[in-house]
């Protein structure tokens, strides 16, 4: 069982990202689950979304999770939410920030001793898609850190998932995914 928790703000696309990732993984024969805590669902409010992946049918519907990966797609949530809650010793963190990994850990001591990767998903999304929607860059970074799939397969899958968007936006997302893959450290 692979479990992922997303920390996001409502409107940044964590739910779409989690469902998109589930869709990609499902095509490889694995069982998937993607869900979110909505709370009162005000745009900009802190929220969490979740992925479960397994070789067998996923029967567990509890919301409690000790994640293998934590994705933080809004830079401020590292300080205002507890992104390390219910962690394991092996939990890996991919965090969007304009800082280096060392600077980030120095600014948030809870991350000390943890396996932390960083990149600036917000800046990448701004530069490529033209809007601060950091979900697809996070998935590009996840592909690099996890080595889950090769990029050609992943990008092709994401093109299918984004198919209802204008071609220009799809192309921009592909560039964003590749940049994130290349820039995550």
């Amino acid at each position: 069982m692979l479990e992922i928790r997303w920390h996001s703000r409502a409107g940044q696309g964590a739910v779409t990202g989690a469902k998109g990732l589930a869709d990609v993984i499902s095509t490889t024969g694995k069982h998937v689950q993607a869900f979110a805590f909505y709370g009162s669902a005000k745009r900009g409010a802190a929220m969490t979304a979740y992925n479960r992946v397994d070789d067998k049918m996923i029967m567990n519907h509890e919301k409690y999770m000790e994640p293998d990966y934590v994705f933080v797609i809004d830079p401020a949530l590292v300080y205002t939410s507890d992104v390390t809650i219910n962690h394991k010793d092996t939990t890996k963190y991919i965090i969007t920030t304009h800082m280096t990994t060392d600077q980030l850990i120095a600014s948030q001591p809870k991350l000390k001793g943890k396996e932390v990767y960083t990149l600036d998903c917000i800046q990448i999304a701004q530069d490529t898609i033209g809007r601060p929607i950091p979900n697809t860059p996070m998935l590009g970074a996840f592909m690099k850190v996890s080595g889950m799939y090769d990029m050609e397969f992943f990008k092709k899958s994401m093109q299918r998932i984004l198919a209802k968007l204008p071609q220009k936006i799809i192309d921009a997302n592909m560039i964003a995914i590749q940049r994130a893959y290349d820039e995550v450290k």
Binding site: A18, K19, A22, D23, S26, T27, H31, V32, Q33, A34, F35, A36, Y38, I58, M59, N60, H61, E62, K63, Y64
Partner: protein
């Protein structure tokens, strides 16, 4: 047919709402009369989009309340069409008056109920309060545990409800957010196969058949009211189960997926059993398997059909079980839980020695964790070991503050 077919992959990653909307598209509903409410809104939105995009030949009626939504469904069903809608919580509560009209008038409407708590305090999350509110309304009630079930049970609901020997409306329940907004793999049917399972709508006593005029919604006083109600109850008690079982059999032949009136998991040699509904059934299944590795003979019984209540099937399934927990996800507000009472009724006149205890859990979407269920099985095993119930008969799982227990 004057609409486009949609190409689906064998497995689509859908949440429960979208699964239900797709089933409604494939059943080619004639009329959806709807008013939106969280968390069920995407079902009727989905149908409306399919209609606008030319994938359905039907009509979407926007109304001013859920009371009007069900009233519109009643009118359309009386006129003679395949009719469905969806609602939750407060919307369901506002619909209640009309629910009794629909069943009393024997109109085969399908209502997707995305289970949600009832205010006050206001809460949009999933529990079974609305589902419990509907249980005396004369509708058939199916219960989904996951998005796949929400898809499949819609087809089964139409097949059963529209059968001329049944002619009763049916609800398909799914847990708010836990199923409705949780995306999982759903095995799909292609449009032709799916439609072939429900078939073309065959009207009966339809008001638009001007050759054979009929009256719907009449008044009967003490001269006939009781006979109508007794006949409705008789049909629910005697005619519905054989039709549901036939539909389950045919559905299995078509898809390979098997449904049962009660879903039994590892009950044959079980000592301790959790009885519950919705997503909790699947979580409990997973925990029961883990308990068996620890030497506790654990099982799960899930209700697939809540009304009519599968009395004898449950009696049979719980034979030889030593300790049973009835899990109610709705506040009984001054009584034992519904499931506790129904199970007690099932078991009372039998030679069972089972110990039955009730638990209230998960109100307003409060998480039911694997840890909770593990502790529950351990508690049931302690009852078995002690040879008596060691706790009060009614306990609360997962509520903060001092431990609450009654009876």
């Amino acid at each position: 047919m004057a609409f486009d077919k949609m190409k689906l992959r064998d497995i689509e990653v859908w949440d429960g709402n979208f699964a239900a909307a797709q089933a409604m598209r494939q059943c080619q509903i004639d009329v959806v009369s709807a008013y939106p409410i969280t968390p069920s809104t995407p079902i009727v939105e989905g149908y409306a989009k399919f209609l606008a995009d030319g994938y359905v030949e039907g009509e979407f009626v926007m109304v001013e309340s859920e009371h009007a939504a069900m009233s519109g469904c009643i009118g359309a069903a009386g006129a003679g069409g395949r009719v469905a809608t969806a609602t939750s919580s407060q919307g369901f509560a506002l619909m209640v008056e009309t629910l009794y009209q629909a069943s009393g008038m024997r109109l085969p409407i399908v209502l997707n109920v995305v289970n949600r708590a009832l205010a006050a305090p206001l809460n949009v999350n999933g529990d079974h309060s609305d589902m419990y509110l509907g249980r005396d309304s004369g509708w058939i009630q199916f219960d989904a545990y996951c998005p796949q079930d929400a898809y499949d049970l819609n087809f089964i609901a139409f097949r059963v409800a529209e059968d001329h020997d049944v002619r009763l409306p049916a609800m398909v329940h799914q847990d708010g957010f836990m199923t409705s907004h949780t995306a999982q793999g759903v095995h799909t049917m292609d449009d032709d196969t799916a439609y072939s399972f429900v078939g073309e709508f065959k009207p009966m006593n339809d008001m638009l058949d001007f050759e054979h005029p009929v009256t719907h919604g009449v008044q009967t006083e003490e001269d006939w009211h009781f006979e109508h109600k007794a006949r409705q109850h008789n049909d629910l008690m005697t005619k519905v189960f054989p039709k549901i079982e036939a539909a389950f059999d045919d559905f299995e032949k078509l898809t390979g997926r098997r449904y049962n009136l009660v879903e039994k998991y590892d009950l044959d040699d079980a000592d301790v059993v959790v009885v519950c509904m919705g997503t909790s059934v699947e979580t409990a299944r997973e925990v029961a398997l883990e308990m068996r590795e620890k030497g506790i003979k654990a099982g799960v019984l899930g209700l697939r059909v809540i009304r009519p209540f599968p009395f004898f099937q449950i009696q049979e399934a719980l034979k030889g079980i030593k300790a049973i927990a009835a899990l109610d996800r709705s506040s009984p507000n001054g009584a034992p839980g519904m499931l506790f009472n129904e199970l007690a009724g099932c078991l009372f006149n039998t030679d069972t020695n089972a110990m039955l205890s009730g638990y209230v859990y998960g109100l307003g979407g409060r998480d039911l964790t694997k840890r909770h269920l593990t502790d529950l099985y351990v508690e049931l095993q302690a009852n078995v070991d002690a040879g008596k119930i060691t706790t009060p008969l009614q306990q609360f799982i997962g509520v903060r503050g001092p431990k609450l227990a009654f009876l």
